[in-house]
């Protein structure tokens, strides 16, 4: 086998492909061929690095130089300067916010420095379409060890000892779940991977499947052995074609190598794996609905018990875990449960992948140890708030989660502290908001999503969320009434306790948590006809900052509806009942004294 002088890793995750990774790759191919370097440098397509916003991305090894926001013309420069002469192409290096620095090395970028990548260990590093690269990184050794050196119950003990909790939302201990499934007597059992990833904005599961599909296969086969299942399904949404393709390639390779099928690694254990494409309804991520969907029925939840561990797919005991959960499994057996349990907090072990979005400089996927503070995630990894605006709140846990205000910014992020604060880990969506986000509008956005996705089977969820949404829409429209807040709270509590499945049981969370921490914003909308963030267009009236106003009367002269009162030497005021929010005064004021709010 030839040793190459260098490897050029082109990120070919969905994010980078959409920003042009394929043509960057073609440009490299052409340049390498023209300059007779094809035997010296190897081009490798990888999965997502998490920093999709900086795409297209290419990393040149052995130096580990991180080139970002590439355009086709840059490729020739990189080949001539870096590959031939050994000089870095500074203009294409990463430039952190608030700094003139250019950072050459992948590992020195703040976004990566504080991360601890376990589930994402191979993402962006190995070629996901080459099982040999996975094996060189230690892949399938955990499977070999478990199958040849451990009994199923020892494997379950090890999982319990690791303290791993499900990464799909609820945070149920994985070892315990496996134990339930293993204890049900049956001639047939199933192991299912939930790759539905319904949370808006979340893409960690997709990234793992695109970037490191073998880790999921390995995790599932280990789970199958531990629980006594000999067949498995990956339920993945059809909108993830690249992830499906890479998983299919990985399945074929794993089969060829005997990591799937009969007599795996000569140990006598058999396991088959299938892919089931889902149509992408949010509720299909709920485990009983998901199993109905695999069976070809409409994806609707059913009451539990019986739990899937007793009666699951086609009536047989089944175990469902999330993609990220499975990605952690091989590492736990490779490095030991004690090692894993030493990371994170008392009750939340290991790491969690977060999808950072919203008003944050470094949007992307970041894997951090449990217990890290919200502040560290937002400022150290996320690079702070865009345009240096003031941090207002963060929504954690997607549509089932909640909002945390500024005074909880030092909260350690783990399952229990988030629940206590009224939010939720969920799948790890993390949306950062600045002072210009209206919390009522935000709650409306999430409720609109869950309301839309309700399967309609039970009344509180179907009708209740609809009523809540109507009220929120009314408030945002400036037509809020006395008693609306109380009504929202009452409806919210009722829906939470009476809905059949997790969708309804968590749908009111965004509303209830914003009510808890930002009640004054609801009140301002209802009682003062004002949107303090200046975001709700129906209410976004202009106000004059009394400190900044120089009493110059300029604005009174331009206002087409004479909404501004003010004489020279008197502070000016805008009458919200007259103002039409046309914005003319803002452009006129030379002292930046007029703002929405």
């Amino acid at each position: 086998m030839e040793l190459y002088r260098g490897h050029i890793l082109i990120c070919s995750g969905t994010g980078c492909i959409s920003s042009g990774a394929n043509s960057i790759k073609a440009a490299f191919e052409k340049q390498l061929a023209e300059k007779d370097l094809s035997g010296e440098f190897k081009l490798i397509e990888t999965g997502c690095h998490g920093f999709c916003e900086m795409g297209p991305i290419a990393i040149v090894y052995p130096e580990g130089t991180f080139y970002c926001r590439l355009e086709n013309e840059d490729v020739e420069t990189i080949v001539e300067e870096h590959l031939i002469k050994g000089r870095l192409v500074k203009e294409k290096l990463y430039n952190p916010p608030h700094s003139e620095d250019k950072i050459p090395s992948y590992k020195e970028i703040d976004f990566y420095k504080k991360q601890h990548r376990i589930a994402l260990r191979n993402c962006g590093y190995v070629n996901p379409e080459d099982i040999d690269e996975y094996i060189v990184k230690g892949g399938y050794e955990a499977l070999g060890k478990v199958l040849s050196e451990m009994s199923p119950s020892q494997a379950i003990e090890e999982m319990k000892k690791s303290g791993l909790r499900g990464r799909g939302g609820g945070g149920f201990p994985t070892g315990l779940k496996w134990e339930f499934a293993s204890k049900t007597e049956s001639d047939k059992k199933y192991m299912i991977c939930n790759a539905d990833e319904g949370d808006p904005g979340a893409f960690m599961d997709r990234s793992i499947l695109e970037g490191d599909p073998h880790s999921i296969i390995e995790g599932m086969v280990i789970g199958g052995y531990a629980t006594g299942a000999d067949e498995g399904y990956v339920y993945i949404r059809a909108e993830y074609p690249l992830a499906i393709n890479r998983l299919k390639t990985a399945l074929a390779q794993a089969k060829e190598y005997g990591m799937l099928g009969e007599n795996i690694l000569g140990t006598g254990f058999n396991f088959e794996l299938h892919i089931k494409e889902g149509a992408g309804a949010f509720v299909c991520g709920e485990e009983t609905a998901l199993m109905h969907s695999i069976e070809g029925k409409r994806g609707m939840p059913r009451p539990r018990p019986p739990f899937p561990a007793v009666k699951g797919l086609w009536g047989k005991p089944s175990n469902i875990n999330n993609v990220e959960t499975f990605a952690n499994v091989p590492v736990i057996f490779e490095k030991g449960a004690d090692w894993f349990a030493s990371l994170g907090t008392e009750k939340s072990k290991g790491t969690k992948v977060f999808a950072l979005t919203g008003k944050i400089n470094n949007t992307g996927l970041a894997e951090v140890p449990m217990g890290i503070s919200v502040r560290e995630i937002i400022y150290d990894i996320g690079g702070g708030i865009t345009n240096d605006k003031k941090f207002k709140a963060v929504q954690i846990g997607g549509p089932s989660g909640g909002c945390l205000p500024e005074d909880l910014i030092d909260l350690p992020v783990d399952y229990d502290s988030l629940i206590e604060a009224g939010a939720m880990m969920g799948s790890g969506g993390l949306v950062v908001m600045d002072e210009e986000t209206c919390m009522v509008d935000l709650a409306r956005f999430f409720l609109n999503f869950t309301q839309d996705e309700s399967c309609g089977k039970c009344t509180p969820c179907r009708e209740g969320t609809k009523r809540m949404l109507e009220i929120l829409e009314r408030i945002v429209d400036g037509k809020g009434q006395d008693g609306d807040i109380e009504l929202l709270e009452e409806l919210g509590e009722t829906i939470k306790t009476t809905s059949l499945c997790g969708l309804g049981q968590t749908a009111p969370n965004p509303v209830l948590s914003t009510l808890k921490y930002f009640r004054d914003e609801y009140e301002a909308h209802i009682h003062d006809g004002r949107c303090p963030a200046g975001a709700c267009s129906a209410l976004a009236k202009y106000v004059i900052d009394q400190e900044k106003c120089k009493k110059c009367t300029l604005c009174t002269k331009v206002c087409p509806v004479s909404a501004i009162e003010g004489k020279p030497k008197e502070v000016h005021k805008i009458d919200p009942n007259v103002c039409t929010a046309c914005g003319v005064c803002v452009d006129t004021c030379k002292f930046d004294a007029i703002k929405k709010g």
Binding site: L3, Y4, H7, P62, D130, G144, M259, L265
Partner: protein, 124 residues
């Protein structure tokens, strides 16, 4: 031919055989740095590098090869540095294709410095 891996042993063997697949991406390998400034290239650094790669392949070593620009010792070109993690950095000068073969078989493969071509040494 079936590619089936029949035991954990075989899996581990395959892992070793294929190590080179990712070795340029590993940070803890021995590193060889070749001066590829204009003067270096004029003095034949590229041929030295190609020979170096061939030799590394022949000896089946895990070594990372990178280049650097002019370091101001042009009269000693071609220049080549060997960095063994934990052992400091040795700079070789006047590295011909024959010298590079010696460096690979003695220094890289066996940890023995090729004394007559050393022009400098930096302890870690």
């Amino acid at each position: 031919m079936s590619k089936k891996i029949k035991s954990l042993e075989d899996l581990r063997k395959l892992r070793q055989e294929k190590e080179k697949l990712t070795s340029p991406r590993e940070g803890d390998n021995i590193q060889v740095i070749i001066g590829m400034g204009t003067c270096g290239i004029a003095a034949g650094a590229r041929d030295v590098m190609l020979t170096l790669l061939d030799e590394i392949n022949r000896h089946n070593l895990k070594v990372n090869v990178t280049q650097t620009g002019c370091i101001g010792m042009c009269e000693k070109e071609p220049l080549l540095d060997v960095v063994v993690p934990g052992e400091g950095r040795i700079t070789y000068g006047k590295v011909t294709q024959d010298v590079v073969k010696q460096i690979v078989s003695q220094h890289l493969a066996n940890g023995q410095i090729v004394k007559q071509n050393v022009v400098g040494k930096i302890e870690e």
